[in-house]
């Protein structure tokens, strides 16, 4: 059934806001195609509805959002060949964990971790700057190696933010990267499987690079 002007006018506001669906919408659009007056009425209300969206409160997406968006815009970016866990990692991590624990009373049983999750740290512009490693054990730990970090990043302290799958954040103590060659780590009080992403933030809270853990 074709709608008349009298049918469409009461629906105009909801049509303008995209709130009419299904056959009712199809019939209304059919009328608008043939009726310049009703079409102009709905379009003018739509412009008002569009402007109202400017008043919507902003909200902060999770770490790495912009990186994920950019990756989606450029899906053809060449994939980096998988890297093996560096041999030095186990030793470095063992030293790091031993030092970070109170009094150094606990050391890792093995210097070569076998249960390590790895993910690439990307800057928002898509530059591969290093890796994050997470070891699920007792204790669990996170270790970041950023050999490709830019020099400009060296001058200020950084914060590592761990985002969990339930949306909660862990903010780990400040770190300093030495002239673009950074390696840093900490023990973790959560299951590694609960970690969704790891991000490096500057003092203003901007994410400089991040990695999203899969699986």
């Amino acid at each position: 059934m074709t709608m008349s002007c009298a049918d469409v006018r009461p629906l105009a506001a909801e049509l303008a806001l995209g709130l009419v669906a299904g056959p009712e919408r199809a019939e209304a659009l059919e009328h608008l195609d043939a009726c310049p007056d009703c079409r102009g009425h709905v379009e003018s209300l739509a412009m008002v509805g569009d402007e109202l969206l400017l008043l919507t409160p902003s909200a902060e997406p999770t770490d790495g959002f912009e990186t994920r968006v950019l990756a989606q815009l450029a899906p053809a970016r060449p994939a980096r060949p998988p890297r093996r866990v560096p041999r030095w990692l186990g030793i470095a991590a063992a030293v790091m964990v031993a030092v970070s624990l109170a009094g150094g009373a606990l050391a890792l049983r093995s210097g070569h971790p076998t249960d390590v999750a790895e993910a690439t740290m990307w800057t928002a512009s898509g530059k591969d700057v290093g890796d994050v490693y997470l070891h699920d054990g007792n204790p669990s730990w996170v270790f970041v190696a950023l050999p490709g970090w830019a020099d400009h990043a060296a001058q200020q302290p950084w914060v590592m933010r761990i985002t969990l799958k339930d949306g909660k954040h862990l903010t780990l103590p400040a770190m300093t990267l030495d002239r673009g060659k950074g390696a840093w780590g900490s023990t973790l009080d959560v299951d590694v499987g609960d970690v969704r992403s790891v991000a490096l933030l500057d003092t203003d809270g901007h994410v400089w690079c991040s990695a999203t853990l899969t699986a």
């Binding site: 506001a13 709130l19 007056d37 379009e43 008002v48 919507t56 902003s58 815009l73 450029a74």
Partner: protein, 188 residues
Amino acid sequence: VWAASDEALLAGLATGDREAALAFVRRFQRKVFGVALLILGDPGRAEDVAQEAFTRAWRHAVTFDPRRGSVATWLLTITRNLAIDAVRVQRARPADLVDMLDLTVADLRPEPGDIASRSDEVSRVTAAVAELPEEQRRAVVLASMYGRTAQEVSELEDIPLGTAKTRIRTGLIRLREALGASVAVDER
């Protein structure tokens, strides 16, 4: 590139310039995510919708028409439409809507440092909304910002469906007059 206009960044996005794309996403991501979150009430789904909104903007950047509105309203409208589509698939809504609505209505003002506050557009719209009678303001905010249908507004406000439709329609028409939209219309 970071100081470029919204239109310039959109043009850069359309041509695949990575720096422009990054600046565009960084400039609008909080607002886009905010629109999706307000409608969906679920951060995970809102982020999916926000991500898709940027993809749509990238694919359809050439369709942007500055005569119809700003880049911000164009992008946020894409986001709202995607969020409403997502709601239709799975109608999960925030339980604390009324509290959120009260907060939103009471706090309609530009945010310091936010993209939109760089123009007087937000101030103009805010002033127009503030002039609406309270019941029309609530109905318009529910429909336009929260993506609620007239039926849902009727249930949330505990008013007849016809009254909900009238409040939304009358409120939008008043706003159009206040904002100076130029299309001659029937004021029924």
